[in-house]
């Protein structure tokens, strides 16, 4: 296994430590060290400056989801810090490697920002507080048990003395870290759990926030890139005579044999010159692939004999043999593009001694793991400085191809920093797409309308097979079954069905799949929740009651379902022409449900009047940011439902930009009432989960309005007029 594979694999720990061999490295990291200056840290998570400013180190990345603020709230809570003095900084993956991964995992995906690190960042804050108190106790020569802390001030009540954290920080930094650290009961929180304003809003209001695409260095050049339009294709030849003579152009080159790059003084000149390069592609074996050929490949999988089993219970054959009624349907989910607002880009500077990368990434360790082999240098000579992201949604964790590009180009121009920006067209046509799958569902009902058997045959693309085949489990991709598993925080099937089979015929078309906000839950929730609705209709039962009957053993699933039923007024009359649909799902540790209210005009125009959404993520660190994530997840999920589809012709993605790949705008956005209902005792994610229920709730409402089951999204392709 290569270093890259070890470093980029999800959830690894031992791999990276082994790969780096505990190397200690001391090269200068500008952003991180300069920010703190010479102030010693209390521990890896907390630095307190003499002026009482607190620097919270954040291993995960902020990409809009509020994690930076939320993690700071957790640290500040345990630290008893003065919230108004909190600042943040990102350690680099190189520092993490050098310090034997003291900050743990940098990956910000799978809605893990908070749930995946709450335990150790809270302990980090609590440990720092103990050390600060001990330093004060030593100075005053009093027992530490006589001290209290509040808002960054240590008080010795008996003598009336106080010290600010900044006054004892240097002494505290020299103390040994405590071994046993107790963290607060969430019911005692005063900073965490509160709807505090984000720490990072102001810079987003005046243009001062620097995203990766805005990064500048003295002497920096800019590059534009065109990769083969057909996956697996190569550059056969280029004629760059005209481009090389254009103003500002410094270099035209081919990298990896499959991409043409123009380096110029400005990016617009680089892009203009790139358009003037005559490129002849060797399109290779995939040039005949089309949406129709992919659909045929997936359709075959629906009936294939062999499939990986995800969830199995009872005996389906007997259940179907004795069924009073059989229901059957085939659903399909298309390729979709992430469409982050900021296109992929990275800046790199390479010398034989050092390779530095500045980029927006959801996983700086994976970015480093990509940079290392591209640079040809050992890992201790490379590092990645994290810049602000203009959206991630999984694209910036699925592949760091854009980092590879920047390093390969910079390597051709030693010493010169080069920023490679993908044009929007390059970005849309070289994504890591939401995988395409189909699902055939067969349900058996008894004479009372109870579900006695269900077979879900999924056919289609595996994300791991496309991105990290080494992570497959005996060929099987466990992620395919998100939300359909017998148990576990990554998505438990929430219905009691005595005879059940969920299996997956893996069929991998040549386009790269990726993790896409919600990931496989998106289609799995449509498949299951719309089909449950179909079975409810076949049984002549109310979709809510039909679900409730099967959910006695799944109280958390049921609780959020009940919340949206109650808050939406399920069963009560709606405005004329308005109809409701409901759905629930579980994934990334959280339980979610939604009710959608829609109307469909005589001409087939859909209006989504209202969304009522509930989530139980166990704990809520910042309620107003959870509300923002719930709203955002509906914008993302409903964009996908209404418009999202990448189609393939002649081996190429057909959509190239926002004009042909539409997304939701203001006029489409429904009001979203969000109900976080944390029940405590566990930590679930927030950034993704409610996206699962967006599409199925609306699809079920459309059925209620029109009598139509729409099984082949997006809706832009379909006639919604009443059946």
């Amino acid at each position: 296994m290569t270093i890259a594979q070890k470093l980029s694999r999800r959830g690894f720990l031992a791999g990276a430590t082994a790969a780096t061999g505990g190397l200690s490295i001391g090269f200068h990291i500008p952003t991180a060290e300069a920010a703190v200056g010479d102030t010693p840290e209390i521990n890896a998570w907390v630095v307190v400056k003499p002026d009482n400013t607190i620097v919270v180190r954040v291993a995960r990345i902020e990409m809009g989801q509020g994690t930076l603020t939320g993690l700071s709230q957790l640290v500040a809570e345990e630290l008893d810090a003065d919230w108004s003095k909190i600042t943040t900084e990102y350690p680099t993956p190189g520092q993490n490697v050098a310090r034997k991964r003291i900050w743990g995992d940098f990956q910000t995906a799978g809605s893990r920002g908070i749930r995946g690190s709450e335990d150790y960042v809270r302990k980090g804050g609590a440990a720092a507080r103990i050390m600060l108190m001990q330093a004060a106790a030593n100075q005053w020569k009093v027992p530490v048990s006589e001290l209290t802390t509040s808002k960054s001030v240590i008080t010795h009540k008996a003598s009336g003395r106080t010290l600010r954290y900044g006054q004892v920080a240097a002494a505290a930094a020299k103390l040994e870290a405590p071994k046993d650290v107790k963290i607060k009961d969430p019911k005692d929180w005063t900073i965490a759990g509160k709807p505090l304003p984000r720490l990072d809003t102001k810079a987003k209001l005046d243009g001062s926030q620097i995203y990766s695409i805005d990064f500048k260095m003295p002497g920096m050049l800019n590059a534009a890139i065109k990769e083969t339009p057909v996956p697996g294709g190569k550059v056969k030849s280029i004629d760059a005579a005209k481009a090389e003579k254009m103003r500002g152009v410094k270099k035209v080159l081919v990298i990896d044999g499959n991409a043409v790059v123009v380096v110029a003084d400005t990016w617009y000149r680089a892009k203009t010159a790139l358009d003037a390069v005559n490129i002849v592609w060797d399109e290779g074996a995939n040039a005949s692939v089309s949406t129709a050929s992919i659909k045929a490949m997936l359709t075959e999988g629906l009936e294939a004999k062999q499939a990986f089993v995800g969830n199995k219970k009872g005996d389906l054959e007997t259940a179907f043999a004795g069924a009073a009624k059989k229901v059957e349907a085939v659903y399909r989910y298309p390729y979709q593009s992430h469409m982050t607002m900021e296109p992929m880009n990275a800046t790199a500077q390479w010398t034989p001694e050092k390779c530095m990368v500045w980029t927006s990434t959801q996983n700086a360790e994976a970015a480093l793991a990509t940079a290392v082999p591209a640079s040809g240098l050992p890992i201790e000579k490379c590092d990645v400085i994290r810049m602000n992201l203009g959206g991630g949604f999984g694209r910036r964790s699925s592949s760091h191809d854009y980092v590879r590009h920047a390093v390969l180009v910079a390597k051709e121009m030693p010493g010169t920093p080069v920023k490679v920006i993908w044009s929007r067209e390059q970005d849309v046509t070289h994504g890591t797409y939401h995988p395409t799958t189909m699902c055939k569902l067969t349900g058996a009902l008894d004479d009372k309308g109870n579900v006695v058997g269900l077979h879900m045959r999924i056919s289609g693309q595996s994300i791991l097979a496309g991105l990290r085949p080494e992570a497959l489990v005996e060929g099987r991709d466990p992620g395919t079954f998100q939300g359909l598993n017998a148990q576990g925080p990554e998505g438990q099937f929430g219905y009691e069905i005595p005879n059940l089979l969920v299996d997956h015929a893996m069929r991998n078309p040549p386009f790269r799949p990726g993790f896409w906000r919600g990931v496989n839950n998106n289609q799995n929730a449509i498949y299951l929740e719309c089909f449950i609705d179909e079975m409810a209709h076949a049984a002549g039962q109310d979709p809510l009651e039909f679900r409730r009957k099967m959910m006695k053993n799944y109280p958390k699933h049921l609780a959020v379902l009940n919340t949206v039923a109650e808050k939406s007024g399920w069963g009560k009359p709606t405005a004329p022409g308005v109809f409701r649909g409901i759905s629930q799902h579980m994934g990334y540790g959280s339980y979610v449900a939604a009710v959608a209210e829609v109307s469909v005009s005589d001409k087939g125009a859909l209006k989504i009047h209202r969304i009522v959404a509930a989530t139980d993520p166990g704990h809520v660190v910042n309620p107003q940011q959870v509300a923002a994530q719930i709203e955002g997840s509906f914008a993302y999920g409903l964009s996908a439902l209404l418009y999202g589809e990448m189609t393939v012709k002649n081996g190429r993605m057909e959509q190239e930009n926002f004009d042909t790949y539409e997304v939701m705008k203001m006029a489409d956005m429904p009001p979203v009432e969000s109900y976080p209902v944390p029940s405590g005792g566990f930590w679930g994610g927030v950034g993704e989960p409610t996206i699962f229920v967006a599409a199925p709730a609306v699809l079920n409402a459309i059925f209620a309005a029109t009598g139509k089951r729409l099984r082949d999204v997006p809706l832009k392709n379909l006639d919604l007029r009443k059946a």
Binding site: L205, R247, W267, Y268, T340, A635, S639, F658, M664, K665
Partner: protein, 162 residues
């Protein structure tokens, strides 16, 4: 050569005439608050206000502008984040990733000038910039709050003058 009036200052820049205003602002003038999103006037991330009219700078060449036209970018909207739209955005914590927000704010600033009491229909019509994080509902609330505050502010100013 192009002469552009940006944020109240005339800039003379040595650039090809077909260079889009966006790239001249970002690369020649060096103001990076105005963003590249699509290059085809579809997403609105590049919105600047030209004589008060929200304009998608990625698709208009610098040759189509004269120094008489007042171009305002996000950096020039206010000196210290005091424009009613910026204040409302701060109060409601509107941005998520923030990348589209320069354009959203410029479009919203023009909207409340054109429609001091904007209706939902007017907001839908004028606010066509794309936000992938999905901040639309907070943008809507922000526009309404800013319009309300601007109106109250105007009244206060008039009262003070009187």
């Amino acid at each position: 050569m192009a002469r552009l009036n940006i944020n109240g200052k005339i800039h003379t820049i040595d650039v090809e005439p077909d260079t889009p205003l966006l790239w001249a602002i970002r690369e020649q003038i060096g103001l990076t608050g105005t963003k590249y999103g699509c290059g085809v006037a579809a997403c609105g991330a590049c919105t600047v206000n030209v004589d008060g009219v929200p304009t998608r700078s990625c698709s208009l060449p610098v040759s189509s502008f004269t120094e008489k036209q007042k171009i305002v970018t996000i950096e020039g909207l206010s000196k210290t984040v005091t424009h009613p739209i910026q204040q409302a955005w701060l109060e409601l914590d509107v941005p998520q990733c923030g990348y589209c927000q320069s354009g959203q704010i410029m479009a919203a600033a023009a909207l409340i000038t054109k429609h001091p009491e904007p209706t939902d229909a007017q907001i839908n019509e004028e606010m066509t910039n794309i936000c992938r994080c999905g901040t639309y509902n907070r943008i809507r609330a922000g526009v309404k709050l800013a319009a309300k505050n601007a109106k109250a502010g105007n009244k206060t100013n008039k009262a003070q003058r009187a």
